[in-house]
Amino acid sequence: MHTVRTRTARTLAPLTALALTAALAGCASDAEAGADDAGTEQPEQHMQADALSVTDPWVKAVDEGMTSAFGTLVNDSDTDVVVTSAQTDVAGMVELHEVVTDDSGSMTMQEKDGGFVVPAGGEHELAPGGDHVMLMDLTGPIEPGVDVSITLVTEDGSELEVTAPARSFSGAQEEYDPESEMDEMDHEDMDHSDHEEDSDS
């Protein structure tokens, strides 16, 4: 059901690959994790996406705007796998999100600092009300029952293509306003910068 597409011969350094991915997706990513691992990469080493699979992926069907993708990320290797970004043809912009409780006690979404860490031999759940892949600037309606192809990119640049069926779903109503999040970050979280070049410094 899920096809794994892994880059076997990489020509790009992890940081460059990550930056490129982020640029293609038209959104910001935290490149810190990729930079940390850059020096320890071995060419023969198994790519992270080889160890990654997604159990029960799905996407909330919507007519327009934005939506979310869910599922359980599974890592069957003995080292952590970090999903740092995602792409899909059906959305102009994709971000990895978490839901946090803000100072006023209300739940709010924000980009997940460092991406989704799938522990060695473990799982990381993406679910309504929790971590999820946010699909924005949808190119058209996502009808219930269609299959949406989503590519997860790991910190070493390897990729996993996931087929996520769309389902009608009343939950996952969290509204997301990237503008307001950036406003918050401007005065709260300098590490979570909008510019990967800055975050590396």
């Binding site: 219930p144 029952g145 069926p165 009343s170």
Partner: protein, 417 residues
């Protein structure tokens, strides 16, 4: 309680019990739930390592019916205790592509739920953990073939039944573009499955009607016991056995086309007037059907499955089995005019001034409605003592596609032209 206690609650099911595990079991029996077994029983259970495992206390809840196969489940599956029949209408604009998407969604849901697993988007996943022999049986009304642009594939019998004189049909129980028959030995399981299936179909369908029904609860009667309806009668003796007469229910590969492995489903809502039925003494009640109330035996026999002797005369020279007793009128010389009955009782809230609103969700499966069901119903329409107390108030006919084999979705043989 601790993990040890949990394990030792079912000592009889664990094999290779060493002295050490016995000691632990004994200890748990003193303080834990195994105490319910009684000291001596716990001892015996732990000693008898070769003894057959006792079924777990929640065996009824754990039981599953395979969903995948050449036929849909829920047709010749031994009837579960509870059922919901959900008729749906297609939303405007649903075409073949949309139907294929809907079938994919439902197939995935049923695949999971029948195995006791949560649906993909299940917001109440804990409710899915008790499969209780859950089956979901899908049927198509005529509109599916129109929406899919496949009118040429619509079986000739897929249309409303002809009007019968006894009918007092109410549109709120009639017809439907799709039906989901959801059955399980637990009502919570049925409710959860219906909710999930209906809400995931919300952009494709609207609910037209829902009929709920019940039989005896699991474990309350011996397996194979013929059900009783709310008039107190044994109801469903001499049912079709698909092991003996598969062709009465299933379309065969040779002649079936897309329907090979499929069948048809008739859902008739039969209201019972229990108030006037109450006016009848037991002898009168037995005359109406031709069977004894106590055990369902024909009035000419001694056991439920004895063949009725329709020629037998009483001392007064009259037929022992009344000329218009139900079993006489329902009988046919034509062995092909039989069908599988899978009825459920219903007992709704009564209307103003009424004591009850009870009856039968009379569900039948047959390869061909016109050849098997209609001739029998015509005879009963002409004359049947039971008609005095029973009134059909709803009627619907559906084509039941074959089962989904591994990798297939329900209805694939029809929709993949």
């Amino acid at each position: 309680m601790s993990a040890d206690d949990e394990r030792d609650v079912r000592p009889a099911t664990s094999s290779g019990s060493s002295r050490r595990s016995f000691l632990r079991g004994g200890a748990a029996a003193l303080g834990g739930a195994a105490l319910a077994l009684g000291g001596r029983s716990a001892w015996d259970a732990a000693q008898a390592t070769e003894a057959p495992a006792a079924p777990p206390a929640d065996a009824d809840g754990r039981a599953t019916v395979p969903f995948r196969g050449p036929h849909q489940a829920g047709v010749d599956t031994p009837p579960q205790s509870f059922a919901a029949f959900v008729a749906l209408d297609l939303a405007d604009g649903v075409d073949r592509d949309a139907l294929i998407r809907l079938m994919g969604i439902w197939t995935d849901d049923v695949d999971r739920l029948a195995a006791g697993k949560a649906g993909l988007t299940d917001t109440e996943p804990e409710l899915a953990q008790v499969p209780a022999r859950l089956t979901v049986t899908l049927g198509y009304g005529p509109a599916v073939f129109t929406a899919a642009g496949l009118e040429d594939r619509r079986p000739s019998w897929l249309r409303p039944l002809p009007a019968f004189d006894v009918d007092r049909l109410e549109d709120r129980w009639n017809d439907g573009d799709l039906i989901l028959q959801v059955c399980a030995d637990d009502e919570v399981t049925v409710s959860h499955a219906v909710r999930l299936l209906v809400k995931e179909a919300r952009t494709f369908t609207t609910v037209r009607w829902v009929q709920r029904g019940f039989r005896r609860a699991p474990g309350t009667t011996k397996p194979g016991t013929t059900m009783r309806n709310l008039m107190g009668q044994v109801d469903g003796t001499r049912n079709v056995d698909t092991g003996v007469d598969p062709g009465l229910v299933w379309h065969t590969d040779a002649a079936g086309g897309w329907l090979a492995g499929g069948t048809s489903m008739v859902v008739r809502r039969i209201a019972m007037n229990l108030d006037t039925w109450d006016e009848l003494d037991r002898a009168g009640r037995e005359q109406a059907v031709g069977r004894r109330l106590a055990d369902g035996s024909p009035l000419t026999g001694t056991a439920e499955h004895d063949e009725p002797d329709l020629e037998a005369k009483g001392p007064n020279g009259l037929d022992v089995i009344n000329p218009i007793a139900h079993i006489r009128r329902a009988r046919t010389e034509n062995a092909a005019e039989r069908f599988l009955r899978r009825a459920y009782n219903y007992d709704d809230a009564p209307g103003p001034g009424e004591l009850s609103a009870s009856g039968l969700v009379f569900v039948t499966f047959q390869a061909d409605v016109d050849r098997q069901f209609v001739p029998v119903q015509r005879k009963l329409d002409e004359a049947d003592l039971l008609n005095i107390w029973t009134t059909p108030i709803g009627s619907a006919v559906f084509a039941v596609p074959p089962g989904a084999r591994d990798g297939e979705y329900l209805g694939q043989a029809l929709l993949e032209a």
